[in-house]
């Protein structure tokens, strides 16, 4: 039996008759980086707040580390680090004091503050008031706060929201290192698949409060099969020719699309075309991007 760090069953949250989250069955295993995806307003933050005990589910159950959350809230939260939406911080305090305010509550050793600041690369800014920090630095401070108690599970809600590309890269590297270096399980939510696909190994997609996909990233990638498109001098005649040698293709405007991305098939097709006197200007792989697939998944059911 696999050991689930987070397991929800039929988790629902209703606001004024409308379901923000409905019938959610999340399963997140130890050591995974779980990408929790969905458009804005799909219920990601509501779910995360329920996982942290900030809001109460209308129905359904939450188990963290195999224990029901509502019964063992404090002992469970002791093993969880979190960053919910935009970072929380006390602007008038320095980075160190911000962490100290958390440390006094969770009873972590004092040296831990220096350690987590080092992990997120804020050691040099430790003494500055946080209100002067850039968003990326505040976000990293938030992650430092989440790491302070040596958590076994890190729950990060949109941790790269509003960051510039360099900041996104930094945070991504940081998150990727968590399971590897510290054995931490990570749940990270985002509305961008491109964000998550570079770090997650498991993906859950939520749409209008319902989980519509939950599997490994590879399985999602398989669903997003690619195709090869060729730009040739006479596309229609080329298609007929390829048909003759048993290569399936279709016309897409001026382009000829091969359904298979197999190397042997592609090289055979190109060779035949060239031999038959066609000019092949370009041969490129068009991966139906995960993003397109993601958009299709989240787009379904929206009229």
């Amino acid at each position: 039996m696999k050991e689930w760090v987070i397991e929800t069953s039929a988790l629902s949250k209703r606001y004024k008759g409308r379901y923000a989250v409905s019938n959610l069955n999340l399963k997140i295993g130890k050591g995974e980086i779980y990408g929790f995806l969905g458009p804005n307003g799909a219920g990601k933050t509501t779910t995360i707040r329920m996982l942290l005990g900030l809001i109460k589910p209308s129905s359904g159950a939450i188990q963290l580390f195999g224990q029901p959350l509502h019964k063992h809230k404090l002992s469970i939260l002791r093993k969880v680090g979190s960053l919910v939406e935009y970072p929380s911080y006390y602007g008038h305090l320095s980075a160190t004091d911000n962490l100290e305010a958390i440390r006094r509550i969770i009873d972590a050793p004092k040296e831990r503050i220096g350690e987590v600041l080092r992990i997120v690369g804020l050691s040099k800014e430790a003494k500055r008031p946080v209100k002067g920090f850039s968003l990326g630095m505040k976000q990293r401070l938030g992650i430092a706060g989440a790491l302070l108690g040596n958590p076994e599970l890190l729950i990060l809600d949109e941790p790269t929201n509003g960051l510039d590309p360099a900041g996104i890269l930094e945070i991504r590297e940081l998150i990727k290192s968590m399971p590897r270096e510290f054995g931490i399980t990570v749940l990270i939510s985002s509305h961008l698949l491109s964000e998550v696909e570079l770090m997650a190994n498991k993906v859950g997609i939520i749409r209008q409060g319902e989980l519509v996909f939950q599997d490994t990233l590879e399985s999602l990638q398989q669903q997003a099969r690619g195709s090869i498109s060729l730009r040739v001098s006479e596309a229609e005649r080329a298609m007929v020719l390829l048909d003759g040698i048993g290569v399936d293709s279709s016309l897409a405007g001026e382009l000829l699309q091969l359904d298979s991305t197999d190397d042997a098939v592609v090289s055979k097709a190109v060779k035949e075309l060239v031999m038959a006197g066609h000019a092949v200007y370009r041969a490129e792989e068009r991966r139906k991007s995960l993003e397109e697939l993601f958009l299709r998944i989240v787009g379904e059911g929206q009229g």
Partner: protein
């Protein structure tokens, strides 16, 4: 104990927020007002209070202690709550392994300690002012302490209520308005059944202990209700 941990964290967060300044300024302001009052009308006031100069000083001060207290309570509660509202730190704080009742209790304790300190300063200020006005070394210490602390204890219902309101509403306009109204109402001695009258009655009496007791009791009840609500509410 969890409450102590949260209390220590709150003390750290209150650093540099002007709270301590307020705690010191309020009694200093009250004393300065009376220094001005007695300084300008020294001969007149010392003649009408002849033989009971200290009591005269306390009488003049007592008018303003309840209003200052309730104002102070409102501002302290609002500033304390705003530390968390300001950058939406509630979600971070309440996702920590600490019972919400401890979070709420710690804020109450910080507010109570701060206001208590104001009262200590008021005692010191009263004594110093009396001595400076050459009212003599034989001061009515019991009455001085009564003025400094009885109205404070009788205003606990407001301490609990405004802390709860300030922590519940992100928009501080509602608790602030109510606080100012309540503070002004302390001046009028409406009825001994209304809590706004208790801070004044706790000093002027008669039956001071009734109003102190009622204040502490109602304060404790509101504190419990507030705690219960705060522990159950959803945090957004």
């Amino acid at each position: 104990m969890m409450l102590v941990k949260a209390f220590r964290a709150d003390l750290l967060k209150a650093k540099g927020k002007g709270l301590w300044l307020l705690v010191c300024l309020a009694p200093v302001g009250l004393i300065a007002m009376q220094a001005l009052n007695f300084g300008l009308r020294y001969d007149y006031l010392t003649s009408i209070f002849a033989g009971k100069l200290w009591i005269g000083l306390l009488d003049n001060l007592s008018m303003f202690v309840p209003i200052a207290l309730v104002m102070g309570i409102t501002i302290v509660c609002s500033l304390l709550a705003n530390i968390e509202h300001h950058t939406s730190s509630w979600k971070q704080l309440l996702a920590l392994p600490i019972p919400r009742s401890a979070v709420f209790g710690a804020k109450f304790a910080v507010a109570a300690v701060m206001l208590g300190l104001s009262c200590v300063l008021l005692t010191l200020g009263t004594v110093l002012l009396g001595l400076a006005l050459r009212f003599g070394i034989e001061m009515p210490m019991a009455d001085i302490l009564a003025l400094s602390f009885f109205p404070y204890l009788a205003s606990w219902p407001f301490l609990a209520l405004f802390l709860w309101l300030c922590m519940t509403f992100r928009n501080q306009a509602v608790p602030m308005t109510l606080g100012v109204v309540a503070a002004i109402l302390t001046l009028f001695g409406i009825s001994e059944w209304v809590p706004v009258s208790w801070p004044m009655l706790a000093f002027t009496g008669p039956k001071r202990e009734w109003f102190i007791g009622a204040g502490l009791l109602v304060g404790a009840i509101i504190l419990l209700i507030g705690m219960l609500h705060f522990s159950r509410k959803d945090v957004h």
